[in-house]
Symmetry: C2
Subunit: 210 residues, 2 copies
């Protein structure tokens, strides 16, 4: 019997991270997002920001081998690089956390890494206008125009979709790769939580029955 | 205050109709699908099958004017045809049913027609293999090969998307046009109902609060 795992993939600015955090609170599940980087930083003695950049933003991440856990001895040199090593460490960490307790994991392709654990895979999205407005609300210094926000949002989403494309059966954000695609355009994240946590509870109850 | 309206758009073979029926039962809502045709047949003295074909499968439906309720006097002749008249009658019927009680409406672009009532818009989908398997399970005589099923499924979906493209802001099946996209690939429709009805109840409870 697997633990109850919820993975959250999200468009930048859609509120997916807040949704994950609140959902974990409502369900009493562990929550992992930035926490994963903190753990990895401890393990590797590397800086969190460096890790984040290497793991998420680097184009190298697209070289991440699909054959997780297999021997890499016969693979070409570029698989053996630092970035790949970090990704493998992150994968191991995600697998061990999922084995430990019920949890919500945001990002990091956990939907694919944990496929065998049959997670409830959510994709969180919103219309561009709403995403720009959300970015603006959490502004902390840097003030951008709508155009600049849109460009930034599209760039981050593009990076997210790149790694996913290599690992997954379906493109990032393609509804076929998720149990639920959740639209946050017309409702606050807080207001969504009662509905989503009720959904998750019933979903896992049924799954445990079988 | 609006009634609680759930609209269901669905890929052919994804189980959307069964989902709608069971969801309406679980919530105690009225359910409209084929029932709409029966009512329309009574009103127009036309045959249900004829109505179905004219309203759903005819290419003419793509001429459906976006300006529902406006005067058509200045519109070109082809808008004034029989098919458009029937679509207007169907629209009026859908609006009046939605005003009457909480309900689940399957298909018929109700998601767009009822936009002002802020329905909970679901899009139900599944992987092609599962959709073919579902079609096969409900076979009633005609036996098709997988290839033939796939062709039929894609054709029906194409027809559905055509009308929608004219009426809606987003393409048919585009996640941005729905509150939830629900994947029925790895779970039975029956097993989905407790989760979905719990979601709907919480969703409408929050919406009523505001």
């Amino acid at each position: 019997m697997h633990n109850n795992i919820i993975t959250i993939s999200r468009e930048f600015g859609s509120g997916g991270r807040e949704l994950g955090k609140r959902l974990a609170e409502a369900l009493g599940y562990a929550y992992y997002d930035r926490e994963l980087l903190t753990m990895l930083a401890k393990e590797t003695d590397l800086n969190e920001d460096y890790l984040e950049q290497t793991l998420e933003e680097s184009g190298l991440s697209s070289l991440y081998p699909i054959t997780i856990g297999q021997s890499f001895s016969v693979l070409p040199d570029y698989f053996a690089n630092h970035s790949t090593d970090l990704l493998r460490k992150q994968t191991t960490l995600i697998l061990s956390l999922a084995a430990k307790s019920n949890c919500v994991i945001v990002g990091r392709n956990a939907d694919i890494i944990l496929a065998d654990q049959e997670p409830l895979r959510l994709f969180v999205h919103a219309d561009m206008d709403e995403r720009i407005a959300r970015c603006r609300r959490r502004e902390t210094g840097e003030v951008l125009s709508d155009k600049e926000y849109e460009k930034k949002i599209r760039q981050i989403d593009k990076n997210r979709s790149k790694t996913h494309a290599i690992l997954g059966d379906y493109p990032w954000g393609d509804r076929r790769g998720y149990e639920l695609c959740v639209n946050t355009t017309t409702i606050t994240i807080k207001d969504l939580i009662p509905a989503l946590s009720a959904y998750a509870e019933k979903w896992f109850a049924i799954k445990q029955e079988h």
